[in-house]
Amino acid sequence: MLVVTPLDTIVRLLPVFAIVLLTGRGDPVRVWIALGITGLLILLGAIRWLTTRYRITADRVELHKGWLNRQRTSVPRDRIRTVDLTAKLVHRIFGLSVVRVSAAAGSHAGLHQLDLDAVDTAEAEGLRRELLALPVPAPDGSAEAPAPAAPPAEELARLDPSWVRYAPLTVSSLAGIGLVLGAVWRLFDDLGVDPRDVPTVDTAADRLAEAPVWVGTAVVGVVLLVIAVVGSVLLFIERWWNYRLTREADGTLRVRRGLLTRRSLSVSGRRLRGVLVSEPLLLRAGRGAQARAVSTGLAEDTHGGALQPPAPRAEAGRVAAVVLHEDPSMIVGAPLRRHPRAALTRRLTRVLGSAVGLIAAAWLVAALLPGLAWLGPVSLALLPIALLLGLDRYRSLGHALTARYLVARQGSLHRRTVALQRTGVIGWTFRQSVFQRRAGLVTVQAVTAAGDGGYRVLDIAAADGAALADATTPDLLDPVHHTHRGVSASGGGYRTGPG
């Protein structure tokens, strides 16, 4: 860390230095300023290094840091959920890693986080194993069986380079536009060049201004598309280079990836409560999907616990299955029950209602501003789009209850299929609006400590909703479920127990 922190800061400040030195044309004062800043950074880094200590005791991980403002963080080891290793380029040059320890907070449903910045990579590896190894009793003794003993680090998946074709189909393509444009912008900015001064750019801009509007739009569109594709491919490579998903001997799932910044995410097998298969619209259109871990104590910035890069749908199903030791048809691949027709009506009224609102607003704007008169007719295109969206949202709806998992699917722009361990359900919320009550529907949310904290089954028939919850956690709803002796004695058509 003695080297890494100042170096990291210096790298980030390089553009500033470049500007200071270049624009100064050898002005000695500016050189001294740059040297002074560097010296100060090295001094601050040294102070940080001297004042930072970590300690691992039998039951706590403690981190003391700060000089004037002393800060002590301590995390109880039995609450540690995940241990992530990250190594940025600078860290990697010196063989160091950042160890991030995440733990469930004791009193409130939040996260404790503790970063051990710049630990020797080999030591970090040892720490990861040590911190995750501590046996924790399962909540009620029967919640989970320990993962069967596997040979050391069984490999579950690795990168197939052809998956890069899915990169442009994810939101990272938008991030890619930002990345490329940002880099180009900074380059111009740092060099102190106005793009309009570059002759070719200037003439191109003039030509474009003279051409008809649709040509201009098309050219800009194509350019953005190319940038998006290139940027997202670059991002994909940076993020997923050398991706490997393994299961360690102690049952811990481990995702390792990254080209410049090496990342390692470890999810303790005991903490895993299920898998979410995420299919944003474009990715779904390309028959791709991505599996994510639903685990307690996953930090926000771990890409939602991504277990794999965007990959073919079959691969996502396979990864979900091997991760959970289940047959695909018992988890996210389970045949899903459709929701009642009333749910279709509700989806349609909701999207069409919004569309009609937007169209009315568009006509209003068109009436008030004659220059935007085209806005009204153009907005009518929203109607068929809304119709398709509503139909697809209904088509996505589905749920199933298998031996050990509750499976639910929803969403169109971002379709999500979640398989949640039935033993991981720690409560229920039923919501019913006036409209839902009239349509005989209810939205059931299975509350869990993992992932988002709750997963919804949208617009299920009211009787089915209660029966589904009752069948998932039989003990919990017994006393309050009206028709328990009647309909759901047979589980309301849901199997109530394992097997």
Binding site: F430, R431, V447, V480
Partner: protein, 165 residues
């Protein structure tokens, strides 16, 4: 088609003083919403736009009507119960919400007395589980009942081993 959720309502109603509490909250909202409009009317005097009188009256009538009609309905809807297994509540007006949290997974029990609640000797009890989406809140309990409930739940929770995830 069966439209109601086939769950029986929780056993207990909240304290009848909760009606007063909901009404007082509406009065506070009434003051917050009308006072700025009234002061604008007074300050601007003759030059005040005509619609301002209209919105002021409309606000006052709406909020006053809400204060008269809605709290008794809320009182009829809001119910709670603690069984051997779970904390169970029903709340909401336009959107009904049934919440069930198993006692074995309860992590914290918080009792809260807001200023209006103190005035009416009421309290809210919030039962939090390990989930970020799971808190079960019971509003409008008599302060003594809330303290007793919190004590009982805390005792039960401490008797349960594990970290309740």
């Amino acid at each position: 088609m069966q439209t109601a959720l086939p769950l029986r309502p929780p056993a207990h109603q909240v304290n009848p003083r909760a009606i007063r509490w909901w009404q007082l909250r509406a009065v506070v909202a009434l003051i917050l919403l009308t006072v700025p409009q009234l002061s604008a009317l007074v300050v601007l005097a003759d030059s005040a736009p005509g619609w301002l009188v209209g919105t002021t009256i409309a606000t006052a009538v709406t909020v006053a009507g809400y204060a008269l009609i809605v709290p008794p309905i809320l009182f009829r809807i809001h119910r709670w119960e603690v069984t051997d297994q779970a904390v169970y509540t029903l709340s909401g007006l336009l959107v009904r919400e049934w919440r069930i949290a198993p006692i074995s997974r309860v992590q914290t029990v918080d009792t809260e007395h807001g200023p209006l609640q103190q005035l009416l000797r009421l309290a809210s009890v919030t039962v939090t589980t390990a989930s970020a989406r799971g808190p079960v809140k019971i509003n409008g309990l008599a302060a003594a009942d809330a303290a007793e409930l919190a004590r009982m739940l805390t005792e039960t929770t401490q008797a349960t081993p594990g970290d309740a995830t």
